[in-house]
Amino acid sequence: MTLSRRHFLAAGSAIAAAGLTGCGSRSSLGGSHELSMWTWVGSVNDDLIGQAEKAIPGYDGMKLAMTRIGSNYKTKVLTALAGKSLVPDIVAINDDVATYFPNADQFYDLNELGAKDLEKDFLPWKWKWGVTPEGKMMAYPMDTGPTALFYRTDIFQKAGVDIDPAAVAGVAPDWDAYIALGKKLKQAVPGSAITDNITSIYGYRMAQQSKRYMTPDGQYLGDQDHVRQAFDLAVRVVKEGLSANAQNSSDKNAVVTNGKLVAFMGAVWWAQLGPKNAAPKTKGLWRVTAAPGGAGNKGGSFLAITKYCKNPKAAFAFISWLESAKNQAQAFLDPVLFPSTPASYTDPKLSAPDPFFGGQKIVDVFAESAKKYPGAYFSPYDTIIDTPISAELVNIEASGKDPDQAWADAQRQVERELTRAGAI
């Protein structure tokens, strides 16, 4: 067929017509033998996905069609759901899973698909996070983000601190002791910092607690002592000069690369994002130990099956296969996702010594943290509450705002936002 104008126009209008009618007739994305899935880059193990793209285990006729979304992931998922058509069958959800709860009717109840029987395999607090207050199992656990203390042995040696992980955990069992240790490090090596910025301290302190911003029955807790204490602790670290004042991602990387950050309380994924990516030359110098103030969790994600799914049974078979203890262990190797299934922690893939951490078996530290973490209730409004508080903390560090004023301003803003959202 030669490309005449008439052919071109005919083909164009045919495509346009197909596109327009297509919107009305199908609701789930992909062909009838495909399960479409959206996730962000680096949230799944590529080998496992490659297997499912050939055939879903147990469902030979079905194949996975994976889309990795580079940026603005959540916006795109919400847009697809709002459009009510061409919605992916399976979506990944980040640690803000509770913000989806008001729209839980957009997803399948996984308990009805057989999730109930698998609950025993998972960390109890992680499992609970995917269940709505009404008891609907909306999201299935993927990875977790147990926290620990990362530190540079070379700097600790200069400050005369025993670098053995157990010894460091003994020196800094709580935050007071950790700040004292930080001062000692700073004396030995001027310019040293124990956090990249003020919000990290606040966020990680909050991540250790058994309550956060709201009770499950909707009572606001964000103005109570446990929040104020975390707020004051973060301010104290800054006032002691132990923060590197790195507020954006390139600066956060920079303080790891240039060695300013000599210790950091972080989640397991920071091992990759922080030192391994930003300071490969420090290989062998880092160790990990139990964090001051106890076990905690920050981050971790979920999988959900949308109500548009063309074959929910196959979709559930796929996600329970992908998140089995064995496969989660593989996802730890690449791209360093920490399993939510305790059985994985003894898998040889995880317990191999890590040369970047001087041959330490870092999984032991994080597994301990994951098992001990008390769990806390995340409300759908946690993001709304957290944003003004964190923003005011940045004001304290970046422009020297008075902490009491900042606290008052944050609370006023939170109240305004919660009132508008109809939460209080």
Binding site: N248, K260, T387
Partner: protein, 343 residues
């Protein structure tokens, strides 16, 4: 496509209807309407509908997925008492002044230089225009490492000449200067090219006449170039105002890694970034739409101000001014005469 299709049917339908008996006007014109319809259909779907829909959303509370809840003017009410919103207007204005004023002045200078350049003219023109067609995300990433607090080129330079570091990306003014610099760098060449086109349209005769009359280069510039360029300057002023009020990408990329896309203290939060933050990060689409309409009103206001300041009805204003001048002169003469009479 849009331009040609708009004019075509008018001509053909009028000639057709005069040639034959009247009825069936629409049927006859159908092929023409069909031919121009793709633009209007696409515009209705992707242009008109979203605009109208955003008005509708702005009267609702909507998280993007669930039911839309009618709240009347509540979103606008909240907007008026929202400290952050007023702050974003302030931020946007400051960034706009910091970028537009140096940008337009610089553009005029560059345009003059380009106009008088004798060698490598095309090369220079392209060189100045290239920033405008470069991805703004890439530009911002580069500028981000220039202004970075900890490893920035600029701070390294300041250290090397013995001046202290500046916390560019955490201090309120540092952030605004950084964003304004990116905007200026990107748009100065574009405006220079437009000015150049304006300069080339001024007849050489005028300049020659001025030279014969013994005008200095400075006088020539202020009394001939600038007045004759007035429509062009108005155009650039209006477009930079509209562009300046919509600054978004720069702060989005500079501080894009957190929920707080305005940077520390929201110092780089512009109106559009606040719109984006409300609608797409906090999922308050109703509020985002309300911000959008507030921005629309602002842009209309500023366009009118620009129009009155730089453009306006030239002849009328000049004659009025001349008349006033004559009046004043007569009054002065009268006063002098009176004074003389008294003596």
């Amino acid at each position: 496509m849009a331009v040609t299709s708009k004019t075509a049917p008018v001509v053909t339908t009028t000639t057709a209807s005069t040639a034959e008996k009247p009825p069936n006007k629409y049927k006859q014109a159908f092929p023409q309407y069909a031919a121009v319809s793709p633009f209007f259909i696409l515009f209705a779907i992707f242009g008109a509908f979203p605009v109208l829909f955003s008005i509708w959303i702005s009267f609702h509370s909507w998280d993007g997925i669930g039911q839309m809840k009618w709240v009347g003017l509540e979103q606008y009410n909240y907007l008026l008492s929202d400290v952050t919103f007023w702050k974003t207007i302030g931020n946007t204005m400051i960034i706009w002044v910091l970028s537009t004023v140096p940008m337009l002045l610089l553009a005029l200078v560059i345009a003059n230089a380009l106009h008088n350049a004798t060698r490598l003219r095309t090369f220079y023109r392209i060189a100045y225009f290239i920033p405008n067609v470069t991805s703004v995300v890439a530009i911002t990433l580069v500028f981000g490492s220039i202004f970075s607090n900890n490893f920035g080129l600029l701070n390294a330079f300041l250290r090397s000449i013995g001046v202290g570091e500046v916390q560019w990306l955490t201090s309120p003014w540092g952030i605004k200067i950084a964003i304004a610099t990116i905007v200026t760098w990107r748009w100065v060449g574009y405006n220079a090219i437009i000015y150049l086109a304006g300069l080339q349209a001024i007849s050489a005769d005028v300049y020659e006449a001025a030279k014969v009359d013994g005008a200095s280069p400075r006088q020539t510039f202020w009394r001939i170039t600038v007045p004759m360029m007035r429509p062009v300057i108005l155009f650039t002023a209006v477009t930079s105002t509209i562009g300046g009020l919509q600054i978004f990408t720069e702060s989005r990329v500079l501080f894009g890694d957190t929920n707080n896309i305005g940077g520390p203290g929201d110092a780089g939060l512009t109106i559009v970034s606040y719109l984006y933050q409300s609608a797409f990060i906090k999922n308050q689409f109703g509020y985002g739409a309300a911000i959008g309409w507030a921005l629309f009103i602002l842009i209309v206001l500023f366009s009118i101000i620009n129009w009155r300041l730089i453009g306006g009805n030239d002849d009328e204003r000049l004659t009025r001014r001349a008349a006033r001048r004559v009046e004043r002169r007569i009054a002065a003469q009268n006063a002098k005469r009176e004074a003389a009479d008294v003596r």
